[in-house]
């Protein structure tokens, strides 16, 4: 699975993209966030304002309850500020 990070989330995680192998226990986006946080403290800081963070699965807006699989492209980013 490819995970992308943008804006200040990217800066906290320290990379814009990474590839991970999804553990079987991870079913939803929520599970994925919990898994990442358990792996490394940088995610704890990145996901501190968890309610604020926007999620995309395969470049479409999704929610924390969205089910994911190893072929998906996941992205985490703050509310958008373009225009």
């Amino acid at each position: 699975m490819i995970i992308k990070y943008f804006s200040w989330i990217r800066e906290h995680v320290g990379k814009s993209e990474e590839e991970i192998n999804l553990p079987e226990s991870v079913i939803t986006i929520d599970d994925l966030i919990n898994y990442l946080i358990s792996e490394n403290d940088v995610y704890k800081i990145a996901f501190l304002k968890r309610d604020l963070i926007k999620i995309a699965v395969n470049k479409s807006y999704s929610s924390t309850s969205t089910k994911i699989n190893n072929k998906d492209e996941i992205a985490f980013f703050p509310p958008v500020t373009g225009g």
């Binding site: 804006s7 995309a56 703050p78 958008v80 500020t81 373009g82 225009g83």
Partner: protein, 160 residues
């Protein structure tokens, strides 16, 4: 230009500046009658702190940005009869007074062009995955989402 249903669509995410005359001329096909352009300009002062902003840098999510904008244009075309839409959004480093975004809508009737342009801009502000970092003399900081942009889209659920 790409065609979705009967609407000609052009979406560009680019570092370069755009030429409003050239874009307007390109929208002037099939007897539109009315063209409405929105041009966003980089402000040199922070809206809240009034602090001087030296520059800003924009990043986006390639692929998702274009899809989101296309969806917004498609939704607009379901609400109002429009003939052509161009959206250009710049990325990279921009300075005070630079043009940052262009939304142009052509339609036979002006109210449709006004509404669709306004609608596309409002939704772009809340949905298109762009992020700005502002650089002042003191610091670099990520721009916070503006709550008023969430209020702006409410009008489209009230007026039809």
């Amino acid at each position: 230009m790409k065609k979705i249903e009967s609407v000609l669509i052009k979406i560009k995410i680019q570092k370069n500046d755009f030429d409003v005359s050239k874009e307007t001329k390109q929208l002037n096909i099939n007897q539109p009658g009315a063209i409405v352009n929105f041009i966003g300009i980089v402000r040199g002062l922070d809206d809240k702190t009034n602090e001087k902003i030296y520059s800003m840098t924009l990043e986006h999510y390639p692929g998702m940005t274009e899809t989101e904008i296309e969806t917004i244009i498609y939704d607009a075309s379901k609400r109002w009869k429009i003939s052509a839409v161009t959206v250009i959004h710049r990325i990279g480093k921009l300075f005070s007074s630079d043009q940052i975004v262009f939304v142009g809508v052509a339609s036979k009737h002006r109210q449709n062009a006004f509404n669709a342009c306004n609608y596309i801009m409002d939704w772009l502000k809340t949905k298109a995955p762009f992020w700005k970092i502002e650089e002042s003399s003191k610091e670099k900081k990520w721009v916070k989402f503006n709550a008023s942009d969430n209020d702006a889209i409410k009008k489209w659920t009230e007026i039809k």
